[in-house]
Amino acid sequence: MNIWEILIISLIKILFIVVMLLLTVAYSVYFERKISAWVQNRVGPNRVGWLGLLQPFADVFKLLLKEDIVPDAANKPLHTLAPFISLFVAFTTYAVIPLGPPIELFGYKINLVVADVNIGILYVLALTSLGVYGITFAGWSSGSKYSLLGGIRSSAQMISYEVSMGFSVAGVLLMSQSLSPVKIVEAQYGWMWNAILQPIGFITFVVSAFAETNRLPFDLPEAEPELVGGYHTEYSSFKFAGFFLAEYANMAIASAMIVTLYLGGYQVPYIEKLGLGYTLTTIIQIASLFIKIGALLFFFIWVRWSIPRFRYDQLMSLGWKVMFPLALANIIWVAALIMIFGL
């Protein structure tokens, strides 16, 4: 392959990922509203298009037509920059997540991942840590006490939960002996899913992922009853849409990360024993990845409409006194597994 072919193939992959991510975001907003309606015995949006399927586009259109307000007390450059940081982080993280096994198409061997880097997991952790800047800048630069409180809460929360998140990931890394997401997925061959081998690490990672994406029960940065809207109180129009998109994109990425690290990525256990052809197997594997991500997105939304928000001190004590020791215990558990069974 010469350089142009690599460039074109990469561009196609990037385009595919961005379009898929935007569609996922649009429809997770739609399903957020639908599922909340089902939980409360309502119908949910059903007027715009068939079954209300065009509702997300109507919502976005409405947001774009609104006036873009910047408060007088705001620090204008940072106020503008903040939603772009959030969006940038949300859209670049997906680059390292493998969508399926390598395929052969028109004579080219294509890896179904935008960037097969050998430090993929570090890259994801680094970018999600950057995400905190978007929210903190937004809170600080708005010139409003509600936003500031939201921003401060968010930084404290995300830093606390990043610790237990990192330690849970360490268990996975011990297992696969690699930082590359592709290798991690390949290591979870058959039923060797990390969720089964290290259930404690799975739970701590999922809980930390909820905290990292600011979803209920950890949505203290937004906390409508106390903080009006938290860090995005002073945002409107396109900038607000940016935060909104970033929140749902983060949710999709958290789901994809959970699937990659713990639920075997695109692996379907014992599929090779069915004796299906190469093409069919690959298609089933890619579909299984999307089904797993979809199920996790449903789980995210389901949790949001079931569980009340934690109090701030409960959040902190859960993060440091429960999640952190559990994640440490998980590392010891994984080390013991490796030592005893030589996995």
């Binding site: 599922i35 089902w38 939980v39 015995n41 309502r42 119908v43 389901w302 409409w305 079931s306 569980i307």
Partner: protein, 164 residues
């Protein structure tokens, strides 16, 4: 301040959160499959029961005359001062009738006191809940809008006889 004691401390399972969270999630999952309660409003309209307090209306007998004798009790009892009655004499048996009867629907709070106090069962709460006005003048309902034939109000009159 006295130290508040909890009635019941959480046990270890409840402190772990996770069993309790699973219980809550099971509940919401169950309710996802319950039938909806939504009415698709403009197509399907809510048909209230007789006990419903919609907008107050004046009862019109079958001969086209209102029951009201313009005693003014409703206007007197109205906590929102929404009703205005002007009495006049008539040759009919009831001797008095309201020359002008106005309810300001922007003030009405649908408490039903006027209906309760009326000695003639002449003002009752209807089932009408769709109240739309384009300006404030339109919100003042005169006799033309308030009079409703007695046949349309049978439900409510029966309900009043039973429970009032």
């Amino acid at each position: 301040m006295a130290v508040q004691k909890r009635e019941k401390d959480l046990n270890i399972l409840e402190k772990l959160y996770i069993p309790e969270i699973i219980k809550g999630m099971a509940l919401t999952l169950k309710s996802m499959f319950r039938p909806n309660v939504t009415l698709q409003y403009p197509e399907v309209r809510f048909e209230p029961l007789a006990s419903y307090r919609g907008r107050p209306v004046l009862v019109q007998e079958n001969n086209g005359v209102e029951r009201c004798v313009a005693c003014g009790l409703c206007s007197r009892v109205c906590p929102a001062l929404a009703i205005e009655v002007q009495a006049a004499e008539t040759d009919q048996e009831k001797e008095r009738y309201p020359e002008k009867f106005e309810i300001n629907m922007l003030r009405c709070i649908f408490c039903g006191f006027c209906e309760e106090v009326c000695p003639e069962e002449a003002i009752v709460m209807s089932k009408d809940y769709e109240l739309v006005f384009k300006n404030r003048d339109e919100a003042i309902y005169g006799k033309d809008k308030l009079l409703v034939p007695v046949d349309n109000l049978k439900d409510r009159l029966e309900f009043l006889r039973k429970f009032k």
